[in-house]
Chain length 471, copies 2
Amino acid sequence: MSEKKNEKITSREVDFAKWYTDVCKAADLVDYSSVKGSMIIRPYGYAIWERIVAILDQKFKETGHVNVQMPMFIPESLFNIEKEHVEGFAPEVAWVTQGGKEPLEEKMIVRPTSEVLFCEHFKKIIKSYRDLPLLYNQWCTIVRWEKETRPFLRSREILWQEGHTMHATEEEAKEETLRMLGVYQDLQENYLALPVITGKKTEKEKFAGAEASYTIEAMMWDGIALQNGTSHYFGNGFAKAFGIQFLNKNNELETPYQTSWGVTTRMIGSIIMVHGDDYGLVLPPNIAPTKVAIIPIGKVDEVVSEIVCDLKAKDITYMVDNSEKSPGFKFAEAEVKGYPIRLEVGERDLKEGIITVVRRDTLEKIKVKKEEVISTVLELLPKIQKDMFDRAKERRDQMIYEASTYEEFLDHTKKHNGFIKTRWCGKETCEDKIKEDTTYKSRCIIREVEDGKCVCCGARAKYEIYFGKQY
Amino acid sequence: MSEKKNEKITSREVDFAKWYTDVCKAADLVDYSSVKGSMIIRPYGYAIWERIVAILDQKFKETGHVNVQMPMFIPESLFNIEKEHVEGFAPEVAWVTQGGKEPLEEKMIVRPTSEVLFCEHFKKIIKSYRDLPLLYNQWCTIVRWEKETRPFLRSREILWQEGHTMHATEEEAKEETLRMLGVYQDLQENYLALPVITGKKTEKEKFAGAEASYTIEAMMWDGIALQNGTSHYFGNGFAKAFGIQFLNKNNELETPYQTSWGVTTRMIGSIIMVHGDDYGLVLPPNIAPTKVAIIPIGKVDEVVSEIVCDLKAKDITYMVDNSEKSPGFKFAEAEVKGYPIRLEVGERDLKEGIITVVRRDTLEKIKVKKEEVISTVLELLPKIQKDMFDRAKERRDQMIYEASTYEEFLDHTKKHNGFIKTRWCGKETCEDKIKEDTTYKSRCIIREVEDGKCVCCGARAKYEIYFGKQY
């Protein structure tokens, strides 16, 4: 542990919002520019995104998807084809109205999402059942003209992936929707060490134009929810609006079924807000671009070279801090950056054959024999990964409250943040009332139920559901 | 060889421009949409780009560069800071003027390149000589409002990478400029099998705001040039305009020196136009997303499984065409897609233990014993790569002509396309005259010379230089 908490970072107990932006800045994840509402993702932040992209891209390919690249602009007339969709997105799109010196004949939006572009293309390339399923994905930037922005959480420009698939049957499309939700869950639980809840969005909260939207919800350290990804089943609404049809095996025309699904750099916000502490970022080993930081103290070049050589052989990413700063400063820096393991290689310690291994997640210092450094690192990395998930889950579970009456519900919202697990009749009026009374929104429906009462109106409940505040 | 040339593809002898777009479409590389001037990069085209990105990204990292992500918009006032730069780009930028329902207070352009964004950021993060060099790269999409567009060659939206670096000394920045030109040359010669010429752009042709621009020029099958990448040395012009300074070791303020360099999806156009033929695309093995196409004819599942297993073990990408189409149709399809090697695995041939191996580059059919298939593939792949480069180089060299008088120069331009190697006095008036008389533009300066005369005005020559028509 460095001697004192990082001066650049407000304590998360004091001001969690300030703590968050302090960590984003102090760990060199982002910076601001004169482009309002957009962020610069700095090399260390971008390296985390590159890790996420590499992991997900492989999973997408393993599940049969291929990458494509659509235009980033959408002409107004194309955007207007699906009615619900355009109503949902129109308030938050950026308009391009001029190209070079001349006004455009038809103005265009910068894509906020690409359903209509994919549909137009699908109409051209889908002819027969042999062309299905079409399993496409795109890595790109989208634009949503947000008024209030925060790094990674809400930004005018968002790096993301959007999957768009077409299927011959309803069943297959529904399977795909849930399969990709599962891929997101795998990424978030097993790499980002985020315990998540998955379920269905209510009618009110679903994607504009979707028949059903599924969500993956994480709870931040302060008990507030972050929607970390969505997967949508479209039925054949878009396909009908765009006139997409295929010849089935009996040579009859049918309309295909569609899905889309996406995750964004917002997940980096989750990693920060679930695992971070007052010393800075804490990265789970499975996602950390650099797993081990080596801090040489005194003349220890030879031993550092040996360690580096061994880490390379084991394919473990590392950095050596050879800067002119003091050891204490370097420790603090390694803590801010959240490297999972820090090795303090000191001249004095080495005389006794000792190296100090520091876990970033617990700040525990372990003195090991020089010969045991690599085996200790190899043992610790998966242990840190597991411990981080378990601790996050324990904390999250402690902040899930149950409410069977509206009084209990209100009581929870006054006492503490967190998720409230309850029952609901399915009516938007109740959802609206809860939001008005408490600012809590429905997070996701876990299951349909046959018994119990709506926590708000007392009518027969249809769903078990989570409510919570959200970022 | 399939029985006849592909019906979807115009012969390149008949109409090279039509041949090019036919190949782009027939090989499923691109498609069009209602977004004028932009293209859809389809999965097969995008897979080629993914290969290029993977190779270059590794080379960038090996040379010490890190990736970042800047905003895609540039406010008008920021864009206006460097005068030459804004004059160069203003005629071809797209303007965002409205966000959501409201007009923007300050209108913004969609980045045509990101020098000004990087400079604004560099000003914030560069304080001391310890912060230098800063070696940044960005993978992104840029927008240039072109009037006439062609797939990969000229498009309103371009996928590219842009490197931006800052250095303490002029010398170091100049070295970086040439180092990255060398990285491009390595990619293009050793992976894309493109013989290229590198050199310096004339004052007239250099990048708006640069002190010196270096270019990498390929010659297409029809003798027309394609500029396949540029690397710019900025001196400290931008740095001064943005007020970027650092404290040197003596604690004095200095202005750093800057470079930028970029390549785009245009390189895919080069691959097509240098290597393609009337049967379609021909991909060099080192860049082909799929190296081997396997065409089963009859009941040969078991042998195909064995081959697949062996290819996997050797990490050779492959596809098996199990569709319901006829073998002839599948052969033609494999030719259109340009898979470097095709294996025809036929039931009848197998009775004699024979498999037919077809080289895409020469269309040569080689009958080999079943047991020798994998060793043949392993031998052929590097041979095809080398032969493709050698053939392209031979053809290119035959189309480089020399001219020492203006008469000879004009004569060449009337007789044939190609590069003209000649001497030039360095004056823009001569460059302009040549362009007006012949449409030939300067490609690049190879070296300074002390003797000879300008091919145009007859004054003492300063440079040996290439001229050529360009895409």
